[in-house]
């Protein structure tokens, strides 16, 4: 693999091909995130790994977005409510041509637009600035209400973390989205069960999570967040409901990198050694050429 971006064509009669393409995109998201966090010397790798398949499906198939549509009023909108997954957002942006794959490795550096959390004034295609948990879903709700008022059928997507659901604002938002019947809104929860200091269950339990969203008036789907076909099907169904839709995607923190999987330490801002970065890329199937492309820039 080289650091070049190619849009996958979503042709319905090539469903199998699409799955392969999206898996490839997700693999790129994981490798690019590892590399950018390695170069930055800090960043949150665990959530980038767990959300990679979701990002690939959203940007590679589901959403009506493209680098040419960044100021098109009819484009779909996405807000990264879990703003600390910025490396994965930049990586999927790099893969699909929203930003330069090499430039976006300058994560968290002075004078780089690729800040530790997404900033819309630096990168218009990220749609809004996030990094304070709970706000991205509210902004998405504002977008959905605003687009409806203007008779614009564009859909709005937001991605939340699980620890983020402990913010009260999320439930204010959940209540208001159902009240305003925002059927154009899809929320995806990257449910990897781990947050900064420990598991959700230890820090502040979230279960029964699906029941909570159902009680708040949302259409709820629970899926394996690493099963690309399941993600695509859930996103498609979300577009057909009368209520706002939430997809609870069960994921594995650190997915794809064995030494990282399900270890809370890899949630937080970490510093990779060269050896750790190489081991991670190797586990993700990187060739020696890939390794050089990602790490020797």
């Amino acid at each position: 693999m080289t650091l070049t971006a190619q849009k996958t064509a979503a042709e319905p009669d090539h469903a199998q091909k699409l799955l392969v393409q999206l898996a490839q995109a997700a693999r790129f998201v994981r490798m690019h995130s590892i590399a950018s966090i390695y170069h930055a010397g800090s960043g949150h790798p665990g959530g980038a790994m767990s959300s990679a398949d979701l990002f690939a499906c959203l940007y590679g198939a589901e959403m009506n977005v493209s680098p040419r549509m960044v100021s098109d009023p009819n484009r779909d909108r996405f807000t990264l409510s879990k703003g600390h997954a910025a490396p994965a957002l930049y990586a999927v942006g790099a893969y699909y041509g929203f930003c330069d794959p090499k430039e976006s490795l300058k994560l968290r550096k002075l004078n780089s637009p690729f800040q530790g959390h997404p900033h819309v004034l630096d990168l218009p295609w990220v749609e809004t600035s996030t990094g304070s948990l709970g706000q991205g879903i509210s902004v998405a709700i504002g977008m959905a209400i605003g687009l409806k008022l203007q008779n614009n059928p564009a859909r709005v997507y937001t991605m939340l973390g699980d620890g983020e659901l402990q913010e009260g604002e999320v439930w204010e938002a959940a209540m208001s989205a159902a009240h305003h019947k925002l059927n154009t809104l899809t929320a995806v929860i990257d449910y990897n069960k781990l947050q900064s200091d420990n598991s959700n269950a230890v820090i502040m339990g979230l279960e029964p999570l699906a029941d909570k969203w159902r009680a708040f008036g949302w259409d709820v789907q629970e899926i394996d967040g690493h099963d690309i076909a399941a993600i695509l099907a859930a996103l498609r169904h979300a577009g057909t409901t009368a209520q706002p839709s939430v997809i609870i995607a069960h994921t594995i923190k650190g997915k794809g990198v064995p030494y990282m999987e399900n270890i809370p330490t890899w949630h937080g801002s970490v510093k990779f050694t060269r050896e750790q970065a190489e081991e991670a890329l190797q586990a993700l199937g990187a060739s020696l050429a890939d390794m050089k492309d990602f790490l020797d820039v």
Binding site: T128, S129, H180
Partner: protein, 321 residues
Amino acid sequence: MSNTAPALIASNGDSLREAFGKSLSALADEFPQVVVLDADIAGGTGVHHFRKSHPERFIQFGIAEQNMMAAAGGMAAVGLIPVVTTFAVFCLRAIEQARLSLCYARRNAKIVASHPGLDVGPDGGSAQALEDLACFRAIPGMTVISPADATEMALATRAILEFDGPVYMRTGRSASPKLFGDDHKFVIGKGQILRDGNDLTIIACGTEVARALEAADLLKEDGISARVVNMPTIKPIDTDLIARCARETGAIVTAEDHNIHGGLGGAVAEALAASVPAPVEFVGVKDVFGASGEPEELAYAYEIAAPFIAAAARKVLKRKK
């Protein structure tokens, strides 16, 4: 929600909140992108007028200010001009949403806060925001405005809709005296001399402007010539006018219905320190919380009424070189 619901708290039509609500309604057709966001207190903030005139552009968020504030960022992102309305204390509750989703993202959104300061009256200390000017002034890119009467409020309402960027504007709960005629001008970032004087300058905003004029009358009886400046924009502050007043009168008193720390007084002192240093006395609430009472009673109890502004003027004159 019924469009014929009465105002939450009886107000006589002269209050700044009523003036704001009526102006916003009147301007709504000229500014078709304007939408109004409410957290179940439209009767109190004045936007019950807008709810009645433009129900399709009135968006109810329930008692959930954080979600409302951030959602305004999303509405601005898709081309609307959201006007977020609630009480000033509840704006403080959502200040981090205003910081990130409105200011950091540089959204064209307006926050209009009713019930600021001791002017809130009987609801008591918990409801009297004495920190809002300081807090919102500290956010990069935020414009902060506090008009003094109903005429100025109407002009300011138009001005903030014409202005491209985030704004925090105070209205007021109580009936406010009429200060300005139809020829009054309001420009964001500009203060104006309401009464000329040579011995010192009283710089005031909001409900304290009327009290500053009263104080000037009291001082006149003692033969003291006080200049009175109305400073409706707290940020960006009118440094040129402040420096000119310091140069021409040599002493400054600030007056605001707000904590003496960080609001108008702080902004004026910063401007003076960087231009024409002069002695300053600060009239405001002295770093304590308010309490229940009628606004006029509270103005005396917390020493922001006209005689206290006059006393501050006499004090600053003694420090004048």
